[in-house]
Point group: C2
Chain length 125, copies 2
DNA sequence: AACCGTTTTGACAATCATTTTCATTTTCTG
DNA sequence: CAGAAAATGAAAATGATTGTCAAAACGGTT
């Protein structure tokens, strides 16, 4: 529901990179929208609750969001330069995480795995 | 150098969990120290620059620190209940990350991998 | 011990992302 | 269309972190 939420979702769909709330706000305002920053935060939170967008934290603690193609469990390969993101799979990693947890008596294992690098385009400068 | 920095380092050494700046501040003040919060932030930053402490972000974006036993590359298995942390190794994961990056033309690959779970003690309640 | 330049420290203000509050507007539903 | 419920935006409140700056602690030197 809600027009704003769809608009925010749409912005994310059109971007291959993770985007911050401020970032989305700036783009939408530039496009003539009168949306408020608060609404964007609410939309992102709702989209995330519904599993429609993924969120991760940058090194400086800012939350960034992305509309991923799949809702299945996956990881990200993110370009440090332009933010270009590729969704990747890591069956071995899933198994490893479970095993490591079990070996130390931990249960209800979850994990976060993100891979960073410089994409081919950015490497050229 | 600096007394405060050693004091902060010492607090971390005595904890198996990741700790926040505020958290460390509260403990030191309770112990009678007159240290300021600013100094703690500076100490943590310096210790991190020197590679003496690891840092990671909680889900709500707070930075938490830990003095790890090894300075070599490793990952963490963290208890969601008490924060108890075990340093773990994942050779397969390193290889996987490199391969995934290379497959997509990315260079200068790095990665973050953290495993969360409930430790045996916390599972008992 | 008194002196002096350097480093460290801590109180306080400033920043920045995010959340809350609250009154207004929009959307639904009957 | 009325009236209730949900959504919105502006502005204030939070909370972590950083910047500022003057006071305090050091270190080495007479």
């Amino acid at each position: 529901m809600s027009r704003s939420r769809d608009a925010v979702h749409e912005i994310l769909r059109q971007s291959a990179a993770f985007r911050s709330a401020q970032d989305i706000f700036t783009e939408m305002r530039a496009d003539g929208s009168k949306i408020g920053l608060t609404t964007i935060y609410r939309a992102l939170q709702a989209l995330n609750d519904d599993g429609r967008v993924d969120v991760l934290r940058t090194d400086d603690g800012e939350a960034v969001y992305r509309a991923c193609a799949t809702s299945a469990h996956h990881h990200h390969l993110v370009c440090r330069g332009c933010g270009l993101t590729v969704e990747v799979d890591g069956p071995d990693v899933e198994v490893w995480a479970e095993r490591v947890g079990a070996e130390h008596g931990f249960t209800a294992i979850t994990h976060t795995v993100e891979v960073f690098g410089t994409c081919a385009a950015c490497a050229k400068g």
